[in-house]
């Protein structure tokens, strides 16, 4: 659950009131606020944060692989509000088997390439993404290089 002291932060208080049950955890560490969101609620949460809380920018979307732990993947969103001069990190935990999450491109069009990159390098599927194909690697590449079980070096020939 959310630590008590976070409820005094305006954006957390607003989010918890408007989207009950969506925030499943959080921490404030080194001056940075992280909220853990239930994966199935991510689009509603993002829409609320953008429309109501003025987080008009998505700075980046990426992932972290905690292999072999489960749930294996963290999908990480960094939001930014120039007006409030605040940044916010959202995190969704996904299982290693068929990691899938709804795309937030319907909220910020700018998430498009970041989600494609995360799909390309981690193999996370973003549902309802308008153009989910590889962006960095060639179309016929096998595997997802930023996964921890993908080797860093190849075999010596």
């Amino acid at each position: 659950m959310i630590p008590e002291e976070l409820n005094t932060i305006p954006v957390v208080a607003a989010l918890v009131t408007a989207q009950p049950g969506a925030v499943v955890g959080g921490k404030s560490d080194r001056g940075e606020l992280t909220l853990e969101i239930a994966p199935e609620r991510i689009v509603e949460v993002c829409r609320f944060l953008k429309d109501d809380q003025k987080f008009v920018r998505i700075s980046t979307v990426t992932a972290v692989d905690w292999y072999p732990e489960e749930p294996r993947f963290d999908v990480v969103y960094h939001l930014h509000s120039p007006e409030r001069n605040e940044r916010l990190r959202l995190k969704c935990r996904l299982p290693g088997e068929n990691p899938e999450i709804d795309s937030v491109t319907v909220v910020w069009r700018g998430a498009n390439w970041y989600e494609r990159e995360t799909f390309d390098l981690f193999g996370i599927i973003f549902r309802n993404h308008p153009n989910l194909k590889r962006i960095m690697l060639p179309e016929d590449w096998e595997g997802h290089p930023l996964r921890k079980d993908y080797p860093v070096t190849g075999d010596r020939v």
Partner: protein, 414 residues
């Protein structure tokens, strides 16, 4: 322009020419044009798939990834201090900005206090990086549009900046001069003289560039009213940096969330409201003047003292101490062979690079190697807006428009 008769061209009318109504051609008029990846005006290896109707761009598809080198993966097998060299190679026109952002992120995880002298030197050199990057941008952007000589003027000053980098770090481009905990070396003797002689003449050099371009009719004709799209779309698509400031948003991380003692410097954030290629040019020109102001303040007020943090387990000891003191030798050995452990946690550090918002997301699991480093390059976000910017405009303006973004493909592809 269109009603000016072109000399030397006579229009021959065929017999029926004047009266006949043009027949509708049943064939589709769409033409798909592949621009790049080897095209001089794409500044690297950007491929643009343009769908044209006559001279109008109907759709544009940027295709990136040609420079993808797996840098984010490589971070995970390097020690924290070794990884500094990777950051240079991401945005090769602004190596020190990337050094700085990575070092600040790791220092935040470590909770290190950086001495003022190192912070001020960092500010001064990152502003030199901004000048360097803007000069390359201005020179190449002008070549794209047809003004050849500006390039030579810009590279004259850039050469001097590279010499200053060489003086500090021994390298012209891949400097790796900022290290976790401070600087790699003590600032060299006599740097003040070198920087002073540069900064004394630089503002007059900016006047020279402006004289060549600002009121040049060809330049204004090619750039004014070109490449504009609404600010709301820019924010939505992830555009940052001078593009936003040319659209009227007064936002600069150096002011909004100051890092490395930028709050101690007096400078302005230039903004324009025209939101076209010309406005972006004016914003960057003014940014160069402001950077020169910051460098001047850093030169005049440079604090004395240590250039590395007081953290023997992170910062390599000085050579003479390493050779005479047992403890220093042990620290040296440990840092070089096994690195230093960084407390578990995660940090997203953002700075203002010449191109816009650079962000380093560093995740530590408590070992001596980063568990995950994600780099948010400004070029990646900016390139995403290319279709929105050029669709519906003329193909001749595509060059000017994408040039005004000032992207570096190494930065977007990583």
């Amino acid at each position: 322009m269109s009603d000016v008769e072109t000399p030397g061209v006579t229009v021959v009318e065929t017999e029926a020419g004047a009266q006949a109504t043009p027949e509708v051609d049943p064939r589709p008029r769409r033409l798909v044009l592949n621009m790049g990846p080897q095209h001089p005006s794409t500044h690297g290896v950007l491929r643009l798939l343009l769908e044209l109707d006559g001279e109008t761009v109907m759709s544009a598809q940027p295709d990136i990834g040609y420079l993808h080198t797996g840098i984010e993966k490589e971070f995970e097998v390097k020690l924290y201090q070794q990884a500094v060299t990777l950051t240079d190679r991401i945005d090769y026109l602004a190596p020190l900005s990337n050094n700085l952002c990575y070092c600040l992120a790791v220092e935040k995880l470590l909770g290190l206090e950086i001495p003022p002298r190192a912070q001020w030197t960092r500010v001064m050199l990152t502003e030199f990086t901004r000048l360097n990057s803007h000069l390359v941008w201005l020179g190449t952007h002008a070549i794209d549009i047809g003004a050849m000589s500006v390039f030579l003027y810009c590279f004259r000053e850039r050469e001097e900046i590279l010499r200053i980098f060489e003086m500090f770090s021994g390298q012209r481009m891949m400097t790796s001069y900022f290290r976790i905990g401070g600087l790699a070396l003590e600032p060299p003797r006599g740097w003040q003289k070198r920087v002073k002689s540069f900064i004394d003449v630089f503002p007059s050099r900016v006047d020279e560039y402006e004289e060549l371009l600002t009121n040049n009719r060809i330049w204004t004709g090619r750039t004014q009213g070109i490449g504009s799209f609404p600010l709301a779309d820019m924010l939505d698509l992830g555009v940052t940096g001078p593009m936003l400031r040319a659209a009227g948003l007064k936002w600069d991380t150096r002011k909004a969330q100051p890092y490395s003692s930028y709050e101690k410097f007096d400078f302005e954030i230039p903004t324009r409201t025209e939101n076209d290629v010309y406005a972006r040019y004016l914003v960057r020109i003014e940014e160069m003047r402001q950077s020169a102001r910051i460098i001047k303040q850093a030169l005049e007020g440079m604090p004395e003292g240590r250039w590395t943090a007081d953290a023997p387990h992170v910062v390599l000891p000085e050579r003479d101490k390493m050779k005479t003191q047992m403890e220093a030798l042990i620290y040296h050995f440990k840092i070089v062979t096994e690195g230093f452990r960084v407390p578990a946690g995660e940090v997203y550090q953002v700075i203002e690079s010449p191109r816009g918002e650079v962000g380093y997301y560093v995740v530590s699991d408590g070992t001596a190697k980063p568990y995950r480093v994600h780099v948010r390059g400004p070029s990646f976000g900016n390139l995403q807006a290319v279709p929105r910017m050029v669709e519906g405009t003329l193909i001749a303006d595509v060059i000017a428009s994408i040039g005004s973004m000032d992207f570096v493909l190494g930065d977007s592809d990583r």
